[in-house]
């Protein structure tokens, strides 16, 4: 079996989602090649070559691939897919954008967001916001799969795969990148953080995220997340949203502050190892999934928590 894995990268760096997608490919088993499609992405390709279990890195460099537009990236994958049995992308916004385009062009039905490989042709995937798990078998000759990155621990580094340059087909030219407004932060990335502290509507404002949550995040090295309600209210940007259709996370410790626990939010974090809920409403559904619950006013509890964590540090 030959598997082509789409690398998640920013041209000048490989992102952790790639190592997790390679881990999912390893569970399927076979010869794993990683495709780094970008522009001036040599560093990303070199990093991908070090991932354990990678037999070869395909490096496609072209101006139209710089921003990983779905139209261009899918055309490239279509030109490379002949020798492969499986195409696998991480369930990031890039992977979700590209993979169905690849699948439709091949006339195969994609298997989205797998959380477990049961057999090389059989997978588990959550449906209904994670309230049910579907076990699905694909008889398709070529399989197109996206893998939920929080469900697969990343492979390590230590490999030294060969890097092969591949030529991108002529630009499709029906779409163009205009601009990106990316959130800059020195804190860990939400999708790979070991500890996450998330705030909800209870925080009441974006200033309160800065005043109450961020200092705690800095004490314990946590990423800061948010519920949909907090993003919709404009407290924080969309890339902080944890939930069914936002980011799905599974850190060692998830602190939910002022979050009531709608099923759509629980879908994004209930696989965390330890969940802590702080909410003034003792009947909030978040307490039904929390290992430790504290019924308290968060504006009193959070400064105390910061002080206690510093002491415990």
């Amino acid at each position: 079996m030959a598997i082509l894995v789409l690398a998640e990268h920013t041209n000048d760096a490989l992102l952790p989602a790639t190592g997790k997608a390679v881990a999912a490919a390893k569970d399927i088993g076979g010869d794993i090649h990683v495709l780094v499609a970008g522009h001036n992405a040599k560093v990303a390709a070199e990093t991908a070559a070090k991932l354990d279990g990678v037999a070869k890195v395909l490096h496609a460099d072209a101006p139209q691939l710089e921003h990983q537009l779905a139209e261009e990236t899918a055309a490239l994958i279509g030109s490379l897919i002949d020798g492969y049995d499986v195409f696998l992308a991480p369930s990031t916004t890039t992977g979700k954008n590209v993979a169905p385009r690849v699948a439709a062009a091949l006339d195969v039905m994609q298997i989205s967001d797998i959380t477990k490989v049961v057999a090389p042709d059989t997978f588990e995937r959550p449906i209904y916001a994670g309230n049910a798990i579907q076990t699905v078998q694909s008889p398709e000759a070529k399989k197109v799969i996206t893998a939920r990155i929080s469900a697969f621990p990343s492979v390590g580094e230590g490999g030294s795969a060969a890097i092969e340059a591949v030529t991108a087909p002529a630009a499709v030219g029906i779409s163009a990148f205009e601009k990106a407004e990316l959130t800059k932060s020195d804190r860990p990335e939400l999708s790979s953080a070991k500890i996450i502290i998330s705030g909800g509507r209870g925080l009441q404002s974006g200033e309160n995220f800065k005043k109450y949550l961020e200092p705690i995040a800095d004490v314990i090295g946590a990423a800061v997340g948010a519920s949909r309600a907090a993003v919709d209210a404009g407290f924080v940007p969309n890339d902080m949203q944890v939930g069914q259709t936002g980011k799905v996370v599974a850190p060692d410790l998830y602190l939910a502050v002022g979050i009531s626990g709608a099923i759509q939010h629980l879908a994004g974090m209930k696989d965390s190892k330890i969940i802590v809920a702080i909410n003034k409403d003792g009947d909030a559904p978040i307490f039904q999934v929390a290992d430790y619950g504290l019924v308290a006013d968060l504006f009193q509890a959070l400064p105390e928590l910061e002080a206690e964590l510093k002491k415990a540090g």
Binding site: D113, I133, V136, A180, I195, P237, D239, A290, E308
Partner: protein
């Protein structure tokens, strides 16, 4: 500019679904069904484009059982002009087959823009829009939080993992909607009444020569591992002590 808006009938987002104990599926008897929330955002966006004078006609299409008429009527009450139902048996139709049917509808209706939800909240696939764009050879603007048609282009701001990204697409194009594109209106009673008189065509997959037999085999549907509620702690100090000594996560 003519707009096509595909909509799906799904279990209402507020319903806590029940998994059948024998693993055969979800118990849908007497469960409230609604329009997929992301599709409702797509309908609202299309209607707003019409109200701004950018769009001239909004056609809504649904693929599903007879009852899907209800959500088409909802879309017509929001402000869409007419509906098409492609009637299928009451079993799931996979995104690939849906995309093929939609391609056939696009070829008949010739819209400039197809606007649909980024994912359905039942199967959580997040595939149909991208697949339709691929089959048509059109560009796609997925996970949209802003849609600005501008002559022969449409500028789409997308919610991506790192923040926001803006792309410019040649028209015709496919746009899939994210949560923050707009807040759908509640249709008024007069508009609900008017919607009952708007045209609604019914078709069959055979009319388009599309095979909707599933490609994937669902072996079983099971309950997820459940989490048990833990303990309530009395103070912040107790919480930190437990996280450190009992859970070992600090």
């Amino acid at each position: 500019m003519k707009l096509l808006v595909p909509v799906k009938r799904v279990v209402d987002f507020n319903v806590k679904i029940r998994v059948r104990p024998d693993g055969s599926g979800i118990d849908l008897a007497n469960v409230k069904m609604s329009m997929n929330p992301f599709d409702e955002i797509a309908v609202e966006e299309a209607v707003r484009l019409k109200e701004k004078g950018v769009a001239t006609e909004v056609v809504v299409v649904s693929i599903g059982p007879t009852k899907s008429q209800d959500i088409i009527r909802t879309a017509l009450a929001i402000g869409a002009d007419r509906g098409i139902l492609i009637e299928t048996p009451d079993t799931p139709v996979e995104p690939l087959a849906v995309a093929k049917l939609l391609k056939a509808v696009v070829e008949a209706e010739k819209p400039d823009l197809v606007v649909l939800g980024k994912q359905a909240i039942d199967d959580d696939c997040n595939q149909t829009g991208q697949m339709l764009a691929a089959l048509l050879g059109w560009p796609q603007g997925t996970f949209a939080s802003k849609v600005e048609p501008n002559g022969s282009k449409v500028v789409v701001t997308r919610e991506v993992d790192g923040g926001l990204e803006t792309v410019s697409l040649n028209v015709p194009a496919v746009v899939t909607t994210d949560l923050r594109l707009n807040e759908p209106r509640y249709p008024s009673l007069p508009n609900i009444m008017k919607a009952k008189k708007k045209p609604l065509d019914t078709k069959k997959p055979e009319d388009f020569g599309v095979d909707i037999a599933p490609r994937l085999k669902v072996l079983k549907i099971s309950e997820p591992a459940t989490r048990k509620a833990g303990v309530k702690v009395g103070s912040v100090a107790e919480l930190v002590q437990k996280l450190k000594n009992e859970a070992g996560v600090l």
